[in-house]
Symmetry: C2
Subunit: 96 residues, 2 copies
């Protein structure tokens, strides 16, 4: 069985991701280049840092918080969150 793997690209190719679906659910793994990004969610997102770090301002929070390899943060559906990336960072994003 041949299942094409979908690659998506955002922010002028500064963020790229590959989609996957398995027993854990529907996810993407991706990489963010150094920069600042604002993401919007359409589903709840479980974001795990796979390599590197992400400094994040979550919805309704005033403080930036840094998440390192292995850390998880959750963003509810229909929210906007901001991310500062100071080194190229890999992440897993699971949708629910």
């Amino acid at each position: 069985m041949s299942t094409a793997l979908t690659v998506n690209s955002y922010f002028n190719d500064q963020v790229k991701s590959i989609a996957l679906e398995n027993a854990e659910g529907t996810s993407t793994v991706g990489v963010m280049a150094v920069g600042e990004y604002e993401f919007g969610t359409s589903q709840r997102e479980y974001m795990t840092v796979v390599s590197g770090s992400l400094t994040v301002k979550l919805p309704l929070e005033n403080e930036w918080k840094t998440f390192i390899k292995g850390d998880l943060f959750i963003v509810e559906a229909n929210q906007v969150f901001q991310v500062k990336v100071t080194e190229t960072t890999a992440y897993l994003c699971r949708y629910e």
Copy 2:
């Protein structure tokens, strides 16, 4: 600064990866579709399962071993190893 992110594709698009370089070193994050693959290494590889599972026959071993989310296996440079993928799986591969 704009750093293009490189996407590579292998095995007829059944395996795709995105390269990254950061404080942890040089890595790729990728996804393997269901299938069986044989990989060759040119450097030592530290393979971590990010989502899903990989059943692996490491060089010089006779037994297949299954690695799940969070598990790490190491393959020395200039070796060949075989992988069976029974669900779409994301991995982090760090090169040394």
